[in-house]
Symmetry: C2
Subunit: 250 residues, 2 copies
Amino acid sequence: MANSPSGDSVTERLIRVLETFTPARTVQTAADIGRRAGLPASSAHRIVGELVDAGMLERDDDRRIRIGMRLWELATRSSHALRLRQAAMPSMERVQSRVREHTQLAILEQDEALFLERLSSPESGSNVTRIAGRLPLHASSSGLVLLAYADRALQERVLSGPLMSVTSETITEPSLLRRKLAEVRTIGHAVAPGYIEAVSTGVAVPVHDETGDVAAALSVVLRRDAPTEPALRELFAAAREIERALGGRR
Amino acid sequence: MANSPSGDSVTERLIRVLETFTPARTVQTAADIGRRAGLPASSAHRIVGELVDAGMLERDDDRRIRIGMRLWELATRSSHALRLRQAAMPSMERVQSRVREHTQLAILEQDEALFLERLSSPESGSNVTRIAGRLPLHASSSGLVLLAYADRALQERVLSGPLMSVTSETITEPSLLRRKLAEVRTIGHAVAPGYIEAVSTGVAVPVHDETGDVAAALSVVLRRDAPTEPALRELFAAAREIERALGGRR
C-alpha cells in the first residue's frame, strides 16, 4: 500500500488514528486526532474525512469525531471476541446471578489481559475493569491465570520486564511472581487480593479451548474480605460449561 | 490518501476487505478476501499482510484470516455502541430475568436496524437476531419503532423502496406500512407478529436520548401466541430506566 513521505504505510496511519480513541476519550476534533497520532494536519484531515465518508468514524453536530457504528459492526459481527463471549454468556449470567458482584471474561492479547465482557449489578462493589479494556498480566487474577498457562517465552518476558506496582500489594518481585504462577498451576485458579484495588479481590479460573489450550480467563471481582470459595465453585462449574459450549474437552 | 489505478482510495479498499467478513464467514484465505473484495490478488495480499502486521486481522495456524482482537478492541473501547449497551444492560438483564425469552437493543444504521445486544436463555424460543447483525426496518418490531420516529425523508425512502417479504406476514404494502407506523406512534410501541419468523412475535419500545430523539429500540422476541402485555410493561419500565442512565429526560 502507498507509503507517506515519512515511510509509514496508510494502514499504520489508520491504526494510529484509531488508537487515539480510548475509553476516556470518545470524541475528538480532527486536529486533536492528528496531533495525538503524530500526523501532519493535512494528512489527518484527509484520512479522517475518508474514514467519515466510509462510516468508520462519525462526525457529531459539533463536528467532533467518534468511532463509527459501521466500524464497530464490521469489527464485531464475525469476531472471535463475539464467539467467545456468546459461548460464555449463559454461564456468566448464572455466576453473576449467584455471586452478584462482577463476572468477567478475558483473553491474552499483546502481553496484557483484554476483557471481552463484564457483568455487574447495581449493588456490586468497586471494579476498574472495562469491556475492551486491559489489565497487566501480573496484577490481575485474570492476567495471572493467562500468564500461568502461557508459553514459557511470554512468562520469561513478563518476569524480566518491569512489574508495575498498581497497589502496594501488587506482586512486583520476579521471584515472588514465579512462585505465584506455580501456585496458580497447582491449585488451578488465581486469587489476587488487593493487587488492582485495595478494596477488592479478583478470583479467576482458566477456560480451555477444544485443543486443551487456555483460551480465556473467567473471573469475579469480590469485596476484599468476602469468602472466595462460593464464587470459586461457581467459576469452575461455569468454566466447564463454557468449554462444552466451545466444543471443547469433556 | 493514495488512490489505486482504479481510483478507489486505500480506505475504501480497507472497508471492502473488512466487509468480506460476516457472521457466517468468520475465516477466509487472503485469495478469497481479494476475490470477494474485488481486488487484484497482489493488492489483496499486500493489504491483508499489512492488516495482519497491525493486528487488525489475524492469521490462524492454517494461514486463514480472521478479524483481529486488536481491531475489535479499538472499534469497541470508545464506541457509542458500548456506551448505549452499558447504559441499557442492567435494565435489559431485569427484562430478561422476568420475560425469559430474548431481550434486544437496536439502533438505526444505514436504513436498517443494527442490533447492539441480545440476551437469551437456554429455554428461549426461536430468534434470528445476532449481535452486530441487522434486520429490515419494515419487518422487525425494533425497525418499526426506529422507522416510526425517524425523520420524514427516511420514512419516505423506505416507503418508496422495495419492501422485502421476509415471511408471508411481513408488511409489504406501502399504504399498510404507513398505517402501521402511525399506529406505532399512537400506541408508543410496535408489535410484529410473524413478520420475521412465523413462530415468533417481536415487541419493541423506543428509548430516547437526552435531547428527546429516539436513540434505540428495546425489544423482546416472544413465542407467537404468548401474551404481549407482561413483556410490554417490563419494556416500558426498562426504557425509562435506560433513559435515566443515558442522562436523558426522566
